[in-house]
């Protein structure tokens, strides 16, 4: 049973470019959350998708956008990349039940984005 898979694993982009990161959730999970982990920091919540809608959003600019597909997979898009966007981007999947995300967050290995 595959866990959460993310692609690509590493990516180098130039300032001003746009990037798309992809995530396939664990089998049986329907909710996808994206986190940014800068060096030496804990993961910071970007946004969360359930039923193809953004349900919650953290304190990130609207250069960060996302999408969830009918098969529950998700994409994170970042436009107009800045040097400060360099980080590990983590995808976590979970199950939604009665309006709350269950505690079983499963994380992927992440995408290491470097902006030069």
């Amino acid at each position: 049973d595959a866990g959460v898979t993310q692609s690509p694993t590493h990516l180098i982009k130039t300032r001003g470019q746009q990037v798309t990161l992809r995530c396939s959730p664990k089998s049986g999970h329907d909710t996808v959350s994206w986190y940014q982990q800068a060096l030496g920091q804990g993961p910071q919540f970007i946004f969360q998708y359930y039923e193809e809608e953004e349900r919650q959003r953290g304190n990130f600019p609207d250069r960060f956008s996302g999408h969830q597909f009918p098969n529950y997979s998700s994409e994170l898009n970042v436009n107009a990349l800045l040097l400060g966007d360099s980080a590990l981007y983590l995808c976590a999947s979970s199950s939604w039940y009665r309006g709350r995300v269950m505690s079983g967050y499963t994380f992927g290995s992440g995408t290491r984005l470097t902006v030069v």
Binding site: S33, G42, P43, Q44, F45, Q48, R100, V101, S103, F107
Partner: protein, 111 residues
Amino acid sequence: DQQVKQNSPSLSVQEGRISILNCDYTNSMFDYFLWYKKYPAEGPTFLISISSIKDKNEDGRFTVFLNKSAKHLSLHIVPSQPGDSAVYFCAALAPPRPLVFGKGTRLSVIA
């Protein structure tokens, strides 16, 4: 404003001894707490959790203690093994808000 704080960035412990990792939180609405372990080049892996209605949860070598009045939790690892060397993140849930993480503590277990 950081709602989950891990004030020790690093900890070194000898193999076989106890490792104690600490975590403080400020949001009294948190009702579930989790510890994640992270190796380099991997995502965080769930380790152990505790509900706010309990004060202790044990799983093998790992025990988490919760002191609600002090808004403090700790993870005990006994005995510590070299394979436990990793970054440990404390995280908390206040539904319907998403999981909130601390900055992590790097544990080094020395053989």
